[in-house]
Subunit: 109 residues, 4 copies
Amino acid sequence: MNELALLAQALQRFADERQWGPFHAPKNLACALSVEAAELLEHFQWLTEAQSCALSPEKKAEVAHEMADVLLYLVQLATQLDVDLLATAREKMRLNALKYPAPTPPAQG
Amino acid sequence: MNELALLAQALQRFADERQWGPFHAPKNLACALSVEAAELLEHFQWLTEAQSCALSPEKKAEVAHEMADVLLYLVQLATQLDVDLLATAREKMRLNALKYPAPTPPAQG
Amino acid sequence: MNELALLAQALQRFADERQWGPFHAPKNLACALSVEAAELLEHFQWLTEAQSCALSPEKKAEVAHEMADVLLYLVQLATQLDVDLLATAREKMRLNALKYPAPTPPAQG
Amino acid sequence: MNELALLAQALQRFADERQWGPFHAPKNLACALSVEAAELLEHFQWLTEAQSCALSPEKKAEVAHEMADVLLYLVQLATQLDVDLLATAREKMRLNALKYPAPTPPAQG
């Protein structure tokens, strides 16, 4: 079983133990995911791009926790909707490769 | 190597081939992640919670693609910031277990 | 001068006194606006639609403050981009009327 | 009657004619507002701060329309919750003035 599937199982058990099922309709999880993505963005809103590449260790730890929150809601939403996140991500990459073809390297002579 | 790490590698190669590096400052990736999370939410905004639990196969496929987009930006941001997403997610779950203790099951007699 | 223009003036003076100009690039204000919209959404994420119609006075006051934050950033962004918010909103309503025609009331006879 | 109140009236009539009332629970309007804020942000996600200060007229018109969408949902949410947006925005500015005091100008001699 891959790591995301293990994480999904642990999250399901966590929610079941707390009887959070009724709150975890896909709509609500999509709201929560959007809220966490914004909490992540908040750390960057007044930084320049260059500053965002050079976070202090403390700031980076905070940012990493917001990223984890995004992942946790994404995985829970995937469980509720029975979506295979990794397979869909790979499929999306194949579609992106068609949409944005890589430039051909210049011929060598 | 785990699946997220493989996905991270493939995404890095994809961005390198297209010379997207200069655009992928963490601030920009955090913006893009937030935008994708909202595109996901858009599918649910006028649905009831009950309707969000019973998506048609076509709608579910669209939703799954938006979820994949969220994952792809999250993984790219993790690469840029050198964050171990799975380890941080597990750490966050341990913190959540302390913050929201499971109710003690009633004693049996 | 209309109320939004007065608000815009007051906000400009407020930012000038604090020398916040360099931080208020449109990109950054758009990030901040998105973050405030999510803070507003956070109040509703675990509520049913029905519950969201019946907020307690305390909760409603908190929600109203988040709404004000959204408006304040929107007005500041309009100042930076020299956009007439009210005129554009009225134009958008005209476009929406074409896009979503009102159903014809049944003929009376 | 001020301009936002007039806009609120027109929006209410527009929604009534289309029988959109049942969809316009505050939770749903908060979702829609967040989605529009992200559509606004999308225009800026790959721009530098400097580029975001120098939009082409075409891009600026698109951005202005997204800003109008944010305002339209914000005003509709204010109607549903019976919130006075302008009064709350002014109150929020007073609170911000206490939270972020203006620096004292240097004494002149």
